[in-house]
Symmetry: C2
Subunit: 370 residues, 2 copies
Amino acid sequence: MSGGRLGLTYELVAPSREAARRFARALTVEQTVEIPEGCYSATLEEEVVSRVEALEPAGEGRWRLAVSVAPEIVGGDLGQLLNVLFGNVSLFQGLRLVAVEWPETILADLPGPTFGIAGLRRLCGVERRPLLCAAVKPVGKTAAELASDCRSFALGGCDLVKDDHSLVDQASAPFGERVARCQEAVERANAESGGRTLYLPNLPGDPAKLAARRESVRSAGCRGVIVSPMLFGLEATRHLARSRELVILGHPTFSGAFFGAEHGIARDVLLGQLYRLIGCDGVIYVNAGGRFPWTLEQCQAVNAALRAPLGRIRPAFPVPAGGVQAREVGLHLERYGADTMILIGGSLYQQGDLRRATARLLSSLEAAAP
Amino acid sequence: MSGGRLGLTYELVAPSREAARRFARALTVEQTVEIPEGCYSATLEEEVVSRVEALEPAGEGRWRLAVSVAPEIVGGDLGQLLNVLFGNVSLFQGLRLVAVEWPETILADLPGPTFGIAGLRRLCGVERRPLLCAAVKPVGKTAAELASDCRSFALGGCDLVKDDHSLVDQASAPFGERVARCQEAVERANAESGGRTLYLPNLPGDPAKLAARRESVRSAGCRGVIVSPMLFGLEATRHLARSRELVILGHPTFSGAFFGAEHGIARDVLLGQLYRLIGCDGVIYVNAGGRFPWTLEQCQAVNAALRAPLGRIRPAFPVPAGGVQAREVGLHLERYGADTMILIGGSLYQQGDLRRATARLLSSLEAAAP
C-alpha cells in the first residue's frame, strides 16, 4: 500500500489471468466512479479510481487482488467507506474482501471501543483470567423470570450477564420493566455476594424509541448494552459508541450471509475489524465445534483481528459463543488465551441450577488464568 | 400458513430427509428460543418455537421448508423480525429464505411507501408511461459540475435525477452545497422548460448529522432522497419513511452478499418485500444484461414483489439500473411493463450531450407507453 491510502485485498474467482484483470478493472471502477471509461476526466482517473497494486494467482481459478483507494473519496463517511469496501461490488459474484489496511485519515472517523479489553477488565475487577458472560433467555419468559435467572448467574459469579438478542419489547417482558428488574436483581446479588457482575440489556434499534430506551438503561444504572450492528445499524452503532458512555457488546445476527466461501467479507474483517472500529468493546461470534459450521482457524482470525494493534483504536474482547459447552471451556481457553470472554447460555441452563453451574464454570476459568 | 402467523419458506441443503428434518428442527429453535431442548417449558415450545408446516424435496439434496411463527415473539420490532427471518440462522450454511407470508399484525408496524407508484406518478405528472431517472455522477466532480449535469438531465425531460450513492459529504462537493446547487439547477430548468423534474440527493446515515442534513434537504425544497438501507440502517430507513415527508428511493449497495445461490435471502424477499415494507417508494436493483450477473427471472421476481398486493402497503416502483443501455430501454420495458422506473447514468454520459441523450431516451419511453 502506498502511504496514506486505504489498502484493500480481495480474492477473485476468474478462469484466467486476463479474466482476472478485467474483473479487477471492473471492480476499481465500480467501487469509485461507477461510470464507463471515457465519461470522466483523466484527473478523476488519477485521483478517484482505485489503483491495482497487485494481482497474483491464489490457487485454481482464484486470484488475489490488492487495490488502494484515496481516502478523500470516503469523505469521512462510514456508509461511503462500506460502499468502497463492498458496496455495489457486493452485487458481483466470486469476490471476497479478505484484508484491509487502514490509513490514519480513515481511522480518525472511527471511534473504536470505549472500554476495550483493559477497560472492561477494570469494570469487572478481573485482572488476568478470561471473562465469563452468561446469556439470559429465552424470549417468552416474563421479566420476573429473566431477572431471577440474572440473579442466579450473578450469585454464581459471572462477570457479565447479557440479554438474548431476541429480547426486545415483547409483551412477555417489556423493555423498561425487563431492564429495571434484571439490573435490580444483579445489583442485589452483587450486594449480597460482594460481586461486580454487570448486566447488559439488548438495545433495539428503532430510532423513535432509542432516546427513551437509553434513558431507561441509564436510569436503571446499567453500564453497557448489547447491540446487533447489522440490525441496529452500523452508523447507529458508531454513533452510540461515540457517546463514550456504555460498554457495547456486538452480536453477529444477520451477518452470516457475508461469510461465503467465494463471496462476501472475511469474518476477521467484518467482525474483527469493522465491528471493533465502529465501537464494540467485545464482539460475539459463533465458536468452532458449537452449533454453527465455523472452523477453529476462522475463529482464531477473528480473535487476532480484535486484539491486534490498530492505530489508537483499543483492542476488543473476542466473545466465542453459540453452543460453547461448559465442560470444554478449558480447551477453548487454551487455544484462545486469557483475553477472551466466554459467552455461555444453553450449557448453563442444561445443568438446571444456574448458580451452581456458573460457579463451577468460573472455577475452571480461574484455573485457566495465566 | 395458519391464520395470523408469520409464514416463512426456506430452501435447505441437506443430503437426506433425516438430515433435512434435523436442520429444520435446529432452525425453528435457533430463530426463536435459541436454547437446547429441555431448557424451556412446554408452554414456550407451544407458543414460541416456530412450527414446521411442511418439508418437501426440492431437487437433488435440496429441501423446501415452510415454518410459521407466532407474531407475538416479534413484539413489533423490526430488528427482531429480521432476527426471526435470517438472524442467527444466517450463520448456518445452505439456507435461503425464499418466501414470506405477512400477517396483518406484522404489517401494522411497517410503513410501506409514502407515495408508491401512484403517488410518484402524481408528483412527476406522468400518468401512464414508465418513469425515467438519471444518475448524476461521479464522486470527485464539484457541486457546480454536478448541478450543471442535473440541469442538462432536467432540460432533457427526465422525471427524476438522483445523486450517485457514493456522493456523501466529500470535500469535492460538500453535502449542503451540493443539495442546494443541484436542486436550484433543477428548479431553474423546470421553470425554463415547464418540466417537473425532481432532484433526489443521496442522504448519508450518520445520526449525528442526520437532522441537519434533513433540514438542508427540506430547506432546499427537495421532494425526496435516495438511501441505501443496508448502510443507512434498515431501522433508520423505516423511521425516515414514517415521517411521510419524502420520496425514498432505496439503493441496493452492500446487499449483494445476501443473494447466494444456496445461502441468503431471495432478491424478491429482501429488495421486493423488505425494502418496500420499510418504506421505499422505488427500489433500485441491478438489471439483467447490465454490469452484474442477475438473470431476467430474478429481476422479474423483484418487480412482481414490489407491485403485488400486500395488505394496506402501497406498491413501489421497480428501478432497474446498473448498466442499462439507452438503446435497449424499449426491450426492457416490453418485459417489465409501464410501472417501471428506468435508472440510467453511464449510458447517457457516454453520449456526451446529456440533454439531447435524455430527450432521445424519453421519446422512446413515450413510444413504449401502453
